[in-house]
């Protein structure tokens, strides 16, 4: 291991830490919106304060069920093979998301007020 290797590792760790604080820093539970994407397009949008069960289906037979309750959005059911989306922690803060890659579904919480993270996650 040489000097520049150590430098590279330190810069990498620094950027990771900075990104982490930037993403998690100002995430007070917000007057948020839950945006559900399907195939990269906005499928539906609900306020985080609503009480809803949303089913997202597609022609290929992909089914995802999202529940919005008590200020949290959660994937409660899906027919994807790995079920990783169901095991993802509920999204309740600005910028948090649940991803179901096999069915190409993304559930994202966005702050209703415009802020920095909105600009990035667009």
């Amino acid at each position: 291991m040489k000097k520049n290797d150590v430098l590279l590792i330190l810069i990498g760790l620094f950027i990771a830490a900075a990104a982490w604080f930037w993403l998690n820093g100002k995430q007070e539970p917000t007057e948020g919106t839950v945006v559900i994407y399907k195939d990269g397009n906005v499928h539906t949008t609900f306020p985080l304060s609503s009480d809803e069960i949303i089913t997202i289906e597609d022609k290929e037979g992909g089914i995802n069920v999202v529940s919005i309750k008590d200020g949290k959005a959660e994937m409660i059911d899906a027919n994807c093979p790995d079920k990783l989306c169901i095991h993802t922690r509920p999204a309740q803060k600005n910028g948090q998301s649940i991803v179901c890659l096999p069915n190409r579904v993304v559930v994202e919480v966005k702050s209703t007020e415009k802020d920095v993270i909105d600009g990035v996650s667009e």
Binding site: M1, D5, L8, A16, G40, Q96, L101, R104
Partner: protein, 173 residues
């Protein structure tokens, strides 16, 4: 000369086989990321070793063959895009650091760069599939995991390469 080319091909084939097995093994270590198909990048260590033994061409060749073979054998074409994006970006940045090997970078640095950019490449592929850059919120976790695996495999490769060089030079002559 022809004889040596055959021998070199045999070595590259063995390395490719190792990369395929490592790719299979890393499937047993799921990352704390809700994106299936995203992997540690252990198999990149083989491309790294090939890079320092035979140069960039061999590193790329092994990576491409590994992606093709693993997607045909078990992971399927849908996660081939992650393998390919991760592999391409990892090997490219390894080569960049390899070129700077006289300027204070060792094989460990190349491995760390490969580890980080393996994951950046996979996230780019995921955002392409999903049509949103939301997945980049996993970047901090994946960058740190890339640095840790990169450093570990780099230290291993650092021990391995001089020994392999000796063995291969005996074998080739």
């Amino acid at each position: 000369m022809e004889h040596n080319k055959t021998k070199q091909m045999i070595i590259l084939s063995m390395l490719t086989a190792m990369a395929i097995i490592l790719h299979y093994i890393e499937g047993f270590f799921p990352l704390p990321v809700a994106i299936p198909g995203i992997k540690l990048g252990l198999s990149n260590v083989v491309s790294l070793v090939a890079l320092y033994l035979f140069g960039p061409g061999s590193a790329f060749l092994i990576m491409i063959l590994r992606v093709l073979m693993t997607s045909f054998l078990y992971s399927g074409l849908s996660s081939a895009i992650f393998s390919l994006a991760g592999g391409l970006s990892a090997v490219s940045f390894m080569i960049a650091i390899w070129k700077l090997r006289d300027k204070g970078f060792s094989i460990v640095g190349a491995s760390v760069a490969g580890g980080i950019f393996h994951n950046v490449g996979q996230l780019l592929a995921a955002s392409f599939v999903l049509g949103t850059f939301t997945v980049f919120s996993y970047l901090p976790v994946l960058a740190v995991s890339g640095i840790v695996t990169g450093a570990a495999t780099g230290i291993l490769a650092n021990l391995l390469v001089p020994r392999l060089k000796k063995i291969i030079s005996i074998y080739l002559n």
